[in-house]
Symmetry: C2
Subunit: 471 residues, 2 copies
């Protein structure tokens, strides 16, 4: 089965498509640009949402649900915002058998709905802050589509908060960025660069956009989560006022932030290999699969079942007693990226042992069944560490520093990020985009700039910046 996957070196894009299809993550639907999330793919998303939802609730975020449809007049109120989404909008024009008097947009994002609600419920400083989130799907009429990377409909969470002070709102933007960062590192074992987007690349209507920028195995960038600071830009338009402690009318300060099924693309392209998925244990729908060797021998089946019963409340575990060959099963669960396989054969039964096989390194380890729990805990920890470090090594080895335009040109062929200084001028960013085909990824939060010049124009630099090709 694994053999039917194109190798990463032969054609990375084809490999990606093969993997998601073979691992049964998605199926193409009869609706243009929309995919079906199959049970295995959706289970990954459920595990992701489970972790992120807990993290958000821990810092006081509350879930709500806003309507799916947005009246055109509401969407048009903030002009930068509608400009950013106008071409991607899908419009409902007919409902209940009649032409509607006003078109309704299928939400591409819900800033304006939250604003309209906030303006209704906020009266005084006592009502602030409001830290809201919703899990939903949104629709953007993309011309091309690739599962998890770009599709007309996709699932995400969108957070929307309002605060009494700009400083508090900006800090919250960074709090969320760090929450995402922890999630990528601790749960997904994915390294990243945290940074700020340039004016050109920031979110439509935002004052500042912060990003978790990840690098895929092929050296390309994936913007994997973003956090936006709005200040009072929307609050002014939507009149979200409150009375402060001195009874003076003030505008709220606002943020929004999101993480989508794109993170599944990141998981696939950061950890996957030529045999398929390699899933981080914390979000793997099946963390352990038990495969009996000679499944027809009763003592093997019995022992395997015993092991399963002992572990089933501790891990997400599957016992595959089906009549496929062990070889078929090995390949099947390798494609599906199951982190640990437990093999139980005739000798193992005699010795009260089993064999643990790691998906990430292929290492095998014999282990007494009585020590299983301890060994599995250690192995999961090792897998987490190894996945992260391996990905970090790949990312670091593909970040190239350039001091001049010529160095930038020379580094183009290597694939990866190019790190330079930058003067901050959009015209230089444009030139890099047009002549080198690289977009600005972000200006790192950990900015180590001392002195130097922009390699594009030679003027004094104000920031470090990462350039790359992106998904």
């Amino acid at each position: 089965m694994a053999k039917e996957i194109t190798s990463t070196s032969e054609d990375f894009n084809k490999w990606y498509t093969d993997v998601i299809k073979k691992a049964e993550l998605v199926d193409y639907s009869c609706v243009r640009g929309c995919v079906i999330l199959r049970p295995y793919g959706f289970a990954i998303w459920e595990n992701i949402t489970g972790v992120v939802d807990k993290l958000l609730k821990k810092i006081g975020v509350e879930n709500v649900s806003m309507p799916l449809l947005i009246p055109e007049s509401l969407l048009r109120q903030e002009k930068d915002h509608i400009e950013g989404f106008n071409v991607e909008a899908a419009w409902v024009t007919c409902g209940g058998g009649k032409e509607l008097s006003e078109r309704l947009c299928v939400r591409p994002t819900s800033e304006v709905l939250f604003c309209s609600h906030f303006s209704q419920i906020i009266e005084s400083w006592r009502d602030l802050p409001k830290l809201y989130n919703q899990w939903c799907s949104v629709v953007r009429w993309e011309k091309t589509s690739r599962p998890f990377l770009r599709s007309v409909e996709f699932h995400w969470q969108e957070g929307h908060t309002i605060h009494s002070e700009h400083e508090e709102a900006r800090e919250f933007t960074i709090t969320i960025l760090n929450l995402y960062a922890d999630f990528f590192r601790e749960t997904l074992c994915i390294p990243f660069i945290l940074g700020k987007k340039t004016e050109k690349e920031k979110f439509a209507g935002a004052k500042e956009t912060y990003t978790v920028e990840c690098m895929m195995k092929d050296g390309k960038a994936l913007q994997s989560a973003t956090s936006h600071f709005f200040g009072s830009k929307f609050a002014e338009v939507f009149e979200i006022n409150f009375r402060d402690k001195n009874n003076a009318e003030k505008l709220v300060s606002q943020t929004s932030w999101g993480l989508s099924t794109r993170v599944i693309a990141a998981i696939i392209m950061v950890h996957g290999d030529d045999d398929g998925l390699v899933l981080p244990p914390k979000i793997a729908p099946i963390q352990i699969v038990i495969i009996p060797i000679f499944p027809k021998r009763e003592e093997i089946l019995k022992k395997s079942n015993e092991v399963f019963e002992n572990l089933k409340n501790l891990f997400r575990i599957k016992f595959d007693a089906s009549d496929h060959t062990p070889g078929w099963k090995f390949a099947e669960y390798e494609v599906k990226g199951v982190p640990i396989r437990i093999e139980i054969g005739p000798k193992d039964v005699l010795n009260d042992e089993c064999v643990l096989v790691r998906r990430d390194t292929r290492e095998k380890k014999k282990c007494f069944i009585k020590d299983l729990k301890k060994n599995l805990d250690t192995m999961f920890e090792d897998i987490n560490k190894n996945l992260y470090l391996k990905a970090l090594k790949n990312m670091e080895s593909r970040i190239f520093k350039a001091n001049s335009w010529n160095e930038m040109v020379d580094l183009l062929g290597y694939g990866g990020f190019i790190k330079t200084l930058w003067c901050g001028a959009p015209v230089c960013e444009e030139k890099v985009k047009n002549e080198l085909g690289l977009s600005s990824r972000c200006m790192p939060l950990k900015n180590k700039i001392t002195e130097g010049v922009c390699p594009v124009c030679g003027k004094e630099a104000i920031t470090e910046i990462f350039w790359g090709k992106s998904y």
Copy 2:
């Protein structure tokens, strides 16, 4: 605060609207017929989905996600189905700045999408059954709207399964009906009648529809969850074939079933009273609220906090140390239906005691703090029992048996269900509808019919049936 709620006896509909607004369950949005689920309302839904999702997974149901939009041609393939939904459809006609060549319907339900997917992935009997579910929102262009009862957009779960045999599919329809029934009884403390819908009232395209029919405090019926058996009606149209064990081509047999945010309406109208919500403990966002009497006294605050810390990992609990008066807080959490309130005053601190107050019966109970956990457990059990029995008593006292047309007419004024025999003829059902204003609710699964005649036409009866006014 509680005083601002209209009493149930004065105007039940107004009471309902007051409660959902005062308890901050929803807010009206600027989108016609769509409401905003606020944190407290959405938290109830999250608790409901949490329980139901576990129950479904326990019997092998897997979650998936289908597209939000349905091409018109796909929706039109099964003619009874589209007839049922045609007038309620909302159509996307414009996307990416262009008129679409084919209209897309915002899903009112997803049978046809599941069918289209099933036909792609099913090959042999080995692939069956498929037990799928999705949590999502759907859109139906209703003319009138009332939060949780009827709205243009609402949240639900829709399950879709296919099986190799009709008998297995029909049995699964009943398995799900019983799962819903257990959920209503055990989790929501709501009694019900389980039954089969008449031909007139069944789901568009289904062969049989089963229902969980609940009675609200005002005697009106709420169809609260449904389970449909399709046989091969859709399978034929969408060509969902498989090879059976003898390698013969066969059509699958199908079911679908759903439960929506309507259950929140049921919770409100079955348990609520003149002071607001009365929430069943298992789905209450706040199960216990701790209210310090004299919150400025340090020893009271300290003791309250101690109690909170000891209980916070065992229950969903809130410690309200805000500077509102105890009286304000009592009313606030009564409106919100919090099942148990813990009061801690000066004497309590001295005696290491506290006072427990039940929302459902208003009973107060002194309790040593060291015995709190045990007392709370018992009290929650008592609340569950009391809520169920009280609602059951209301329902049973409002089910009236009628043997003749005149008896039916006489019983009209009482509000509640009228139980009669029925010959099964649609014309008799129509007559009851048109002349008495009652719709058929269901033919009970526990059908105790012996011999008798239909009170409408006098012909021989074939079933018992419940009639009622419904939401």
